[in-house]
Point group: C2
Chain length 93, copies 2
């Protein structure tokens, strides 16, 4: 495997290796959510979630849309969600 692809894959896994980030990505598979709802779902502070979302944004895994004071986050594309499903199958065997 070319070094660039190896590193890109490692970076992708790193973005998804945190339980909370993985929960966020999984949750967003069902549709967009605001920070406050994500924080409630993860039972974590909004600040912590915001930091994680910034990471996911920088990795181009999620993007957001402002509606008034609220930011709604969504998966950047369905690719990641499909990937999680595939890995889930592997986990379950």
């Amino acid at each position: 495997m070319p070094a660039a692809e190896n590193d890109a894959m490692a970076a992708l896994f790193k973005a998804m290796c945190d339980p909370n980030r993985l929960k966020i990505l999984w949750a967003l598979g069902d549709g967009e959510m605001c920070v406050c709802d994500l924080a409630a779902l993860l039972e974590s502070s909004e600040s912590a979630v915001s930091h994680q979302l910034r990471l996911l944004r920088q990795m181009c895994l999620v993007s957001n849309r402002r509606q008034g004071p609220v930011l709604y986050y969504r998966l950047n594309d369905d690719h990641i969600y499909a990937l999680i499903h595939i890995v889930l199958e592997h986990i379950r065997e």
Copy 2:
């Protein structure tokens, strides 16, 4: 996604999120290799590789076979290799 599966998946991603470990797993997809050859391939010390291999062993991703003084490592099953291939396709899009 159930919490147990979420955590298992995060742990799997964590095992694969280091560029060197990913290279090891990729290399072992072609067949078993000894520590010394893996170290040469990664241009890393044998001690560092041994530490990474222990991690992969603890995660049950690889196992080894002793032949005299040499330990040959192999993927525990082809699952992980298939998974890497799938993710590679996602990366390339």
